[in-house]
Symmetry: C2
C-alpha cells in the first residue's frame, strides 16, 4: 500500500493534536513534528493553520454518527440514546481528557476566525437539525410528548451535550454525563 | 487614592486577558504588558501562570452572583431566572465574544493542571449546589414539580448553561441562550 501523502499525514496529525491540545496550544510545528514531516512542507498543502482546522472540523464531523440519526430501521428514541451514548463513550475512552473538537474550537477560535466560526455554525446547525428530526419522529410514534418544539429541543440538547463535556473535563468521573442522560432521557425525551 | 499594587494590577489584567483570550493564548508577557508592569515583576508575586489563574478563578466566581440564589426575599423561581439572565447579559455585553472563565479553563487547562481542575470541580459544585437548593425551594413552594431530583437538575442546568455559551460563541445571535431559557424555564423548571 502506498505511503499516505504528506497532506494526509498532516491532516491525520492535526486531527489528533487539535483534539488533544485544542486550537491555540497546537501550532504548525507541533503538527508537522507529530506528522513526521518538515515544517516547511506545511505551506505547500495549507495556506494556514486555520485552513487546516477547517479540514479537521469536516473530518471530525464525519465521525459524529449524525447520519445514523436518520436510520429508520431503529426506533427514534433508541437512535437518540445511541447517538449520545456513542459520543459519551468517545470522550470516556480518553479518560475525559480531550473534548469535542467543535466545542474546543468554539471556545478558542470562533471569536477570532470568521471561517472557523462559519464552519461551527454549520456543524452545530446540521447536528441540531438531525436531532430535531429524530425528536419529531419520536413525537410522531408517541414515545416523546409533543409539548416541546423539536427544533428548540434539538438545539438545546446539542448545546447541553457540549456543556456536559465542559463539566466532565473538570469532574472526570462520568457524573456530568450521568446528569445529562437522566434529565435528557428521563424528562425531556419522555 | 493610592495606586493599585503591582500584584493587584497583574490580577486585574489577568482577569481581563484570561477572559478575552482563554488560558493557552494568554501568556505571562501579555498579562504584564496589559498590566503595564515589567515581566520580571510577575514572579515576585506569583509562582506561575497557573497560580495566577487560580486567583482569577476565585475572583471570577465572586462575580457570578451565586449568593443571590439564596436570597429568600425573592421567590425561588424568579431568583433562578434572574441568575441565568444576569449570566446571559454578562456574555451578551461582549457581543458573545469571551465566554465563561470556568468553561474556558475546563476546556483548555483542566486536562493539564490538577490545581486548576480542583478549582473548577469546587466552583462547579458550589454553583450547582446553590442552583439545586433554589430548585428545592421552588419545589417546596409548588412553582416547580417535584418529579426531578434537584441535585441532578442543578448539575444539569449548570452544565447546560456552559453548553449554551459554547453554542452562542459560534452563533453570536442570542439563539442558543433563547433555547436554554425556553427549555429550562418552559419545561424543566415548571
Amino acid at each position: 500500500m502506498a505511503r499516505a501523502s504528506v497532506r494526509e499525514q498532516i491532516v491525520d496529525a492535526a486531527y489528533e493534536q487539535f483534539h488533544r491540545h485544542g486550537y491555540n496550544a497546537c501550532g504548525v510545528k507541533l503538527i508537522t513534528d507529530s506528522a513526521g514531516v518538515p515544517k516547511g512542507s506545511f505551506y505547500n498543502h495549507f495556506a494556514s493553520k486555520e485552513a487546516l482546522a477547517l479540514v479537521v472540523m469536516e473530518r471530525y464531523g464525519d465521525t459524529r454518527r449524525v447520519p445514523e440519526l436518520a436510520d429508520r430501521t431503529v426506533a427514534p428514541l433508541a437512535r437518540l440514546r445511541a447517538h449520545f451514548e456513542f459520543l459519551a463513550a468517545d470522550i470516556e475512552k480518553y479518560g475525559y481528557e480531550r473534548g469535542c473538537v467543535f466545542g474546543n474550537f468554539s471556545n478558542e477560535a470562533a471569536d477570532h476566525s470568521p471561517a472557523i466560526r462559519d464552519g461551527l455554525v454549520t456543524a452545530f446547525a446540521t447536528w441540531a437539525a438531525a436531532v430535531a428530526d429524530t425528536i419529531r419522529e419520536a413525537q410522531a410514534d408517541g414515545s416523546v410528548t409533543t409539548t416541546q418544539d423539536p427544533e428548540v429541543l434539538g438545539r438545546f440538547l446539542v448545546n447541553a451535550w457540549e456543556g456536559a463535556i465542559v463539566g466532565e473535563r473538570a469532574a472526570k468521573d462520568g457524573s456530568a454525563f450521568a446528569a445529562f442522560f437522566t434529565i435528557a432521557f428521563g424528562t425531556l425525551l419522555s
